[in-house]
Symmetry: C2
Subunit: 232 residues, 2 copies
């Protein structure tokens, strides 16, 4: 009654995310890549025609965006804001009363290192944030972030230039609450650039059908040499 305007649409958006199949679709898209309708059907565990209906609803509400390509249709999250909302929901979900948590091997991999929309999360994400903080390359004062001049120079030395191509007006240094570690990691343009560069340099590799990423042997050495990171 009070705030009918926001209330109604809030429920609509949440209801869209609040279906298991659609939540799986969105989760699958959380790594920032675009996937085809059939891939998403597989991820969500429903038939293609059912998935198609879900995809139509999600695009209708502008939660995801579609691009035709040949006889495929590629779907991706419509905006970083959507990713942020989903991440916030996951954070809340992690507070929820724990039912039997069958921490499988796949879940372990997720907790170690994974992509979160377009940046890195998990223990690796936290470690990167900590390393950059310790060296004063970023200042995460009270969980909010600023990139320092030294930080900017340092990033240049590993081949990251944040000035090149402004990518709209997206914030350089954002933080994002990590649902497994419950601490903020680096997001924003900085987080995205770090993640992209880590893939380019072969430090990390995607694990098939998962948001988890594997740290390559070379990556392990480089992360140690560059950031002093040593993951258990």
């Amino acid at each position: 009654m009070a705030s009918m305007v926001s209330g109604i649409t809030l429920a609509e958006i949440a209801a869209l995310i609040g279906d298991v199949a659609r939540a799986n679709i969105l989760s699958a898209l959380m790594d920032g890549r675009a996937l085809t309708a059939s891939e998403l059907a597989w991820h969500s565990g429903v038939s293609p025609q059912t998935a198609s209906g879900h995809l139509a609803k999600l695009s209708g509400a502008r939660l995801i965006a579609m691009a035709r390509q040949g006889r495929h249709r590629y779907y991706r999250l419509a905006s970083p804001e959507v990713a942020q909302a989903i991440e916030a929901l996951m954070a809340v979900a992690s507070f929820a009363p724990k039912r039997h948590r069958p921490v499988g091997p796949r879940d372990k991999a997720l907790r170690k290192a994974r992509t979160c929309y377009d940046h890195l999360a998990g223990r690796l994400g936290i470690a990167l944030a900590d390393a950059l903080t310790a060296r004063r390359h970023v200042i995460l004062s009270e969980s909010a972030g600023v990139l320092t001049d030294e930080g900017h120079r340092f990033l240049c030395t590993i081949g990251i230039d944040l000035d090149a191509g402004q990518e709209g007006k997206r914030a350089i240094c954002r933080t994002c609450l990590d649902w497994s570690e419950r601490r903020p990691h680096l997001a924003g343009r900085l987080g995205a650039a770090l993640c992209r560069r880590a893939f380019e340099l072969g430090w990390i590799e995607r694990i098939r059908d998962s948001r988890a990423v594997a740290i390559t042997p070379g990556g392990q050495r480089s992360l140690q040499a560059t950031f002093g990171i040593e993951l258990a």
Copy 2:
């Protein structure tokens, strides 16, 4: 399939918010106050027994918390994270394709000034963030925030001491995306303290049955004198 663990619970949490009655309940609690079950029933537009069921579900998932008091039961949001998730969803909702937006007078008041969980939002919230930024009391570099020393001293002059009682480890300066202005305003302990103090000084007053707040004549003068704020 891929991330079943997070997927399932993500859907559960979203589904809880994705019901009109429950969304109304949560919206009503977004101003940070605790309300009784019957007040929430009224806000959500359903019968008391139906509301009771919703409240049970919401508490069961730790989205809200309950405190008995006499024959009343007071409900409030369980944590700032919940508020943050809801705010993020509202931000996404505001991107959604606009159906007829009957911008009523109540909606106008909401857009001018309202509480968002425990801090101020709307044009007033944005104006405060801008004023503090312009005077270098906070640095919202790239939408992330830091409180400067001068800022800390300035706040003391208007009776806000952020050191008193640490309130756990809650961040001093957080930002929160404003769904009506689509720009970040001040949240965190700073945002909460500013809001509380504004009520104490009689600058603003709650509008009955709404998250909107009214700026008193005295408040108008003080906001002008203290921050140089002049709202249309």
